[in-house]
């Protein structure tokens, strides 16, 4: 029900953005669409948690899925709000045409609805279609500026992700095959996550294991798990900043959710999580350790943030390898990362508009020229480095308390990598924010005014810190025990 309404809202918004004449009208349509999407998706989540009595037929997901849907709803609202002044500025400077602004407005709701369907679809086939649709909807946003680098990023993005997701399709087909074998050759009409779980005892383990491996590799490409991550820094570094925020903040987590669901199925079939845990621990640790090598000497601040996303996703993957408690910590990690990383990416939009460069060497003295932004950016940065009361503090503390008990050496490597990553953040961002050089002053300098980007960053920070504080006191404990009981 909700998903159909959501799809309607997305289609109408996209159409309106293409057809309307002035940018003002387009942005109002986009904003209205985002608000409607936000309300509908949150209503669906509330219905799922049982707080909202109206039926939610057709939307079936687990607790993790509900959390991700809530994140999609929130971050897309932030991204659309932050995007309106950003695109307006570029339009006024002639960086983009009105047609491009319309296209931007129209692609975002399509991207958001694909994510929402991927999260809430019970059918594996539909889920696959929606995941591939997220790639297609964002390709043109990656290629948005049509300069050499953007085209390259878009080319890598669509090719690597489509090939990866095609490999994921083999996994989906093997799940169909497992059901086909279990049903003694009857026609398979649909294969659903809930159906797979219910029939877990009858499915052939060999085929299901194989299916899991393909899904892990295939959708792992989209999560940015390390050997398959090559597209990620390019794509996240080249898109308009509000879209980078959405790609990093929620799209990665959507793909992570799919892998997690496949894990739940394979664990049920095998009767124990030991086999799949090894995948998560190994590739998770690899994904935390590798990006650090590219972060320390990084020249481009958007790419630095993108590598840091690989790292946080790696940590969530790592955490998923440690049983039910690990799942809760992965969820907290994903939530905190979604708010903080998207806030940082929105902030880079303002820096880019003022300095016209994404290179560290061309940007300095942000605190002097854009004081409001610098304060918010610094707070978000510190929160991202898991300083309490950041929610990431709790998730990382939890992961390491589990990790050191089970795999001390691997955990030590992961912890060392996190420390180095924090170091690279301070080394690179602090001079950019607080030191002024003549040769790296803003090109387009007007006195900083409070705009939607600041508001959105404040909102994201309030949500993140509020969530962190809530974990300390009563309501958070209640929520966590609720989540644990669901898992």
């Amino acid at each position: 029900m909700y998903i159909i309404l959501l799809a309607f809202a997305a289609a109408i918004t996209a159409l309106a953005c293409i057809l309307l004449r002035s940018y003002r009208a387009v942005s109002m349509a986009a904003m209205a669409g985002a608000v409607v999407t936000f309300v509908l998706a949150l209503a669906a989540v509330a219905a799922w948690f049982g707080y909202f009595p109206v039926g939610y037929a057709g939307l079936k997901f687990d607790g993790f899925g509900a959390v991700i849907l809530a994140l999609i709803a929130t971050v897309q609202l932030f991204a659309v709000a932050a995007g309106i002044p950003y695109i307006k500025d570029e339009l006024e400077e002639g960086t983009i045409t009105l047609m491009q602004a319309r296209l931007y407005g129209a692609l975002i709701p399509l991207f958001v609805i694909s994510m929402a369907i991927a999260v809430s679809a019970n059918s594996l086939g539909l889920m696959w279609i929606a995941i591939e649709a997220t790639t297609l909807a964002t390709t043109m946003l990656v290629a948005f500026y049509t300069k050499g680098g953007s085209l390259e990023a878009a080319w890598k993005y669509i090719l690597v992700c489509s090939a990866g997701i095609a490999i994921g399709l083999i996994g989906v087909m093997l799940f169909y095959y497992a059901v086909y074998l279990a049903g003694n050759g009857a026609d398979v009409t649909s294969v659903t996550w809930s159906g797979l779980l219910a029939a877990a005892k009858t499915l052939p383990p060999a085929v299901v294991k194989l299916a899991f491996v393909f899904i892990f590799i295939g959708f792992g490409t989209k999560v940015g798990i390390v050997p398959m991550h090559t597209w990620l820094p390019d794509a996240h570094g080249r898109t308009p900043s509000p879209v980078s925020g959405m790609l990093s903040g929620v799209l990665l987590s959507v793909a992570l959710l799919i892998i997690y669901r496949a894990k739940v199925v394979v664990d049920a079939v095998l009767g124990s999580p030991a086999w799949s845990n090894n995948f998560f621990i190994f590739f998770g640790a690899l994904s935390v350790a590798t990006p650090v090598c590219f972060m320390i000497k990084q020249k481009n601040y958007k790419r630095l943030l993108a590598y840091s996303s690989i790292e946080h996703m790696g940590l969530a993957v790592f955490s998923l390898g440690f049983g039910p408690a690990g799942v809760v910590f992965a969820m907290i990690e994903v939530i905190g990362h979604a708010f903080l990383k998207s806030a940082l990416f929105f902030g880079t939009g303002n820096i880019l508009l003022a300095y016209k460069s994404t290179k560290f060497e061309k940007v300095s003295g942000v605190a002097r020229h854009l004081p409001r932004l610098a304060v918010l950016f610094t707070v978000a940065l510190v929160m991202l480095l898991a300083v309490p009361p950041s929610p990431l503090f709790f998730s990382e503390l939890g992961v390491f308390s589990l990790g050191f008990a089970a795999h001390p050496y691997v955990s030590a490597v992961v912890l060392l990598a996190l420390v180095l990553a924090a170091g690279s953040f301070f080394m690179n961002f602090m001079p950019m924010l607080f030191v002024s050089h003549e040769h790296a002053a803003p090109e387009h300098y007007t006195k900083e005014h409070w705009n939607a980007v600041h508001t959105v960053m404040v909102a994201a920070l309030v949500l993140a810190v509020g969530f962190g504080l809530a974990l300390l006191v009563g309501p958070g404990q209640d929520m966590i025990s609720r989540i644990i009981s669901i898992i």
Binding site: L136, M140, G148, G149, W155
Partner: protein, 218 residues
Amino acid sequence: MNSQLYRPILDVLSGLMLVSGVLMLGRVRVRSLLRLFAAQSFALMLIAAAGAYFEGRWHLLITAALVFAIKVVFLPIFMVTVMARGRVGERLSFTMRPPLSMFTALVMVVLGFYLTTSLIPTLGDNFFIAAVSISLALLGLLMLMTRKGLYGQIVGFLILENGIFTLGLALTGGMPLIVEVGVFFDVTIGAILMALLTYQVHGESRRADTEYLETLID
């Protein structure tokens, strides 16, 4: 319906798909590559149609029609049009020369058959077609990796997809119709987007290979 004929027909058609896949690795011109791709997709269409006729899975007819309309007719013509409008030479460029590619392709086929035997032991009659489809997927990946030309990479992706599609037919007798239509829709839009990006690259650089696209490295 003479179902005795079904198995040999399937084997011959999937064999043809495999041969065309290996041959594609040896092509040096975009047009002849696309002709082979159209031929391969035509064989895929016949496999789907045979499934509909011999096993009574009539929804496969729709799949066959889609394969014909999109993969045999539309995509090859569309790509040739984009190439002509971009005014770029139609020689493909490689990181691995065609003769060596073809040899590697044969190794990939052996690997594909070996993987199929060891990984999915329960196939029975469907062994050959499943092994062919896994091999095709590997050939597609090989093409993706060893072609610098944008068209070569697009076709590599499409071969990969053809292989996976055949695997779906072999394993389960075709996915549910709505899923197949959706997968088709995605692949088509994906290929169109890739071709459009290629067109933009032509506009920027007057060439059609990835040498122009090697600035984003760390």
